[in-house]
Homo-oligomer: 197 residues x 2
């Protein structure tokens, strides 16, 4: 931020009276321009159709057609917009990026990514049909079993964490558990895969 | 927003290429100024000391010294800042507004307030001691039993909803339940109290 968005005067960085941290302030009109974290919201679209016929559950991933992380795989997700709720944002992003028609379940993960000023939320979701197709921000959309997921080509640490927690809860469900709600703090970039001995 | 914060040129409202909703855009430097929801984060600071001696559990509330809702009661809460996690924000606001030293528990509520572009989160919290005191944004800080809470003088619908859900879970705990995690959409302003017949 270089100029005041209310009066076009150059902004200064200063601690306003009664505050305790530096803000962009306008010495001309007095406006204080607060900067706050943004929410990124998505879903974990699951296809259980095959599972019912003895096959494995599959998760829908999108191959990114935009930077950052062009060409890497992600769950459908994006920035929450004004005037919508978190679940409306999850449904919208799932439709926009994967063309997918889902029934939304409970909130599954809340992941702090403080170093990029973001909070990521992912909802459980069940695909109603297989009529999905890449939106303009996706190169491809595909269903993957746990083993098929391109674990080394995932776009963001929050995607990997959410998928790991999801499959861990699925394994626990065999002993009668259900899906939990999980919060995690992501404090560093995704680590490179460790080479096998 | 009237002027571009990058180049000071007046902004226009237009739908950028590849987008589907109106944004503040700069026709001079090309910047798109996205507006996104903000997170308000707080805690439910609980004193169980008396409960252990047969008394009732109490919740710490702050009387607001700032607008909006000056003079009304609230749980300690405020806007999340960049570079912090949601739980760090809850601890900071509890310290700043109530001078309270708490041990933070799990996330308890996520409340969408879409018409004001906000998402409110409240964490469970246990007071470590009774050395609390109003911060500069509070006129007063007091402990209340469920019956003592000034239900008609609460600052915001999300405060009422969080307190109602909290005491409902407490009642359920007598039958062996625990605290849940609750999501709600707040779609209208707090209703006026109904006069008794």
């Amino acid at each position: 931020m270089k100029f005041c968005s209310e009066c076009a005067h150059p902004v200064t960085v200063a601690i306003p009276e009664g505050d305790n941290r530096p803000r962009y302030v306008c010495t001309s009109c007095g406006a204080i321009h607060y900067q706050n974290p943004k929410m990124v919201i998505g879903s974990i679209p699951v296809w259980e159709g095959d599972a019912m016929r003895g096959g494995e559950l599959k998760v829908l991933l999108c191959k990114r057609a935009i930077e950052p992380r062009y060409g890497y795989w992600t769950l459908p997700a994006g920035f929450m917009e004004n005037e919508e709720t978190t679940s409306e944002a999850a449904l919208r992003e799932t439709e926009e990026e994967a063309g997918a028609n889902v029934e939304l379940g409970n909130l599954f993960t809340l992941l702090n990514v403080a170093h990029v000023h973001q909070v990521h939320l992912f909802y459980l979701a069940t695909l109603r049909d297989l009529d999905f197709a890449p939106g303009i921000e996706s190169l491809d959309v595909q269903l993957f079993t746990e083993r098929e997921i391109p674990w080394d080509e995932l776009a963001f640490p929050t995607i990997r964490t959410t998928l790991e927690l999801f499959f861990a809860d699925r394994r626990r469900m065999r002993e009668g558990g259900g899906y939990g709600f999980h919060t995690r703090d992501i404090t560093r970039p995704m680590q490179a895969p460790v080479e096998p001995d």
